[in-house]
């Protein structure tokens, strides 16, 4: 049979697409090799309806007190110390009132001691997170217990989440982090270049029944608990003291409550 060039090209094109695409689609549909019953949570793991924090910085007195919390997190999670603010990666850090609550802005009459006080900032694990809303691959997603998680395997490094987060809680691996990790924790992975990372509420510790590392190291300054449990310590503090959250007007419903007030 005679076939002209156009028909031949069409045939070749379609065959190529089917030849490559066909098996790929079939493979992808292949399904799981593990049954659903083969995995389950660790019975030791902590459970909650909505995890949250209360941070009372009046309980942090020296720079070392703050640094202990920061180091507790950064050490066990292999957070690199890049050494410059351009490429830096940080999950928890300290900053003053003005930068923690910038929308409360210029107030020259404010309590001076509060203005100069330092706070601890980390991912708010919002109940309505903007970052989760914008992620195109669900690499960042919200767990049922309120943890805003980060799947480092799926992240494509588009940094839309970094644009969306109103709290500047996220860092990007602008370079390979490994050379900048002072002391590796061999029980926890590092990250690789090109992915976004942030505080993940010590999900690996929650899974074995432990509190987040920063809370444990804070000597009571950071209290951790279930915001939806009316008997939890966090709820009791929120109900008895005056607390504020960062940028509440944006509606993301942050889960970190900062205790405000003078020293007692």
């Amino acid at each position: 049979m005679s076939i002209n060039r156009r028909q031949f090209l069409k045939l070749a094109g379609v065959s190529t697409v089917l030849g490559i695409g066909g098996p790929a689609v079939l493979n992808g549909m292949g399904g799981k090799i593990l049954e659903a019953t083969q995995t389950h949570p660790d019975p030791k793991s902590l459970a909650a309806k909505r995890w949250g924090f209360v941070v009372d910085v009046s309980k942090l007195n020296t720079p070392e007190d703050y640094q202990k919390c920061i180091d507790a997190c950064h050490d066990i999670h292999n957070v690199p110390d890049i050494g410059n603010t351009k490429d830096e990666v940080k999950w928890i850090w300290k900053d003053n009132y003005e930068r923690t609550f910038p929308t409360s802005t210029e107030d020259e009459y404010m309590n001076k001691e509060m203005k100069e006080r330092n706070f601890l900032l980390f991912c708010n694990h919002c109940a309505q997170p903007a970052c989760v809303r914008v992620c195109p691959t669900k690499a960042t997603f919200k767990r049922k217990d309120g943890v805003v998680m980060q799947d480092m395997h799926r992240c494509i490094g588009c940094r839309f989440c970094m644009a969306a987060c109103p709290f500047g809680a996220r860092s990007f691996n602008y370079r390979d982090p490994r050379p900048f990790i002072k002391k590796e924790n061999k029980q926890f992975p590092t990250r690789m270049i090109g992915v976004v990372e942030k505080c993940t509420m010590c999900y690996e510790r929650l899974a074995v029944g432990q509190m987040p590392a920063c809370a444990e190291a804070s000597n009571g300054a950071i209290v951790f608990g279930d915001l939806e449990d009316p008997n939890s310590e966090v709820r009791k503090i929120i109900e008895s003291k005056y607390t504020i959250r960062r940028k509440p007007e944006l509606g993301t419903q942050p889960s970190i409550y900062y205790v405000i007030g003078g020293k007692e």
Partner: protein
Amino acid sequence: MKNAGKIVIGVAIAFVAVFAFPFYYNLGKANAKPELKFDTPVILQWEKEHGKKECIEPKAFMRAEHMQMLNQWRDSVVRNGDRIYVNSEGKEFIMSLQNGCLNCHSNKKDFCDKCHNYIGVKPYCFSCHIAPKEKES
């Protein structure tokens, strides 16, 4: 078409030259079947306690499906928060490449790398998951 014969011969020679490249490039390089070592301290300890060397699933399954299994482990741990794996014999293990698999198979160079190098695969798992430090042999 003018010079059709010469063109066809030229194209055929080019085709053979390009597609036989992997073969003649590796000519002479001894590429024996990889010999995996299973004599890490943790595996030997298990053998002492259980009488035989065994992985969490049979060897044939692991050899063929370990990557698919690890992918599902990854989704289970990271996305669902489930850490415990029940193997085909009902035994429970914690799903972890770094703290589970590599705990027994702490000799990455004589185990993981042997097959991966042989078939030319470069999984990037180890860019993040810290492999145990090995003595330079």
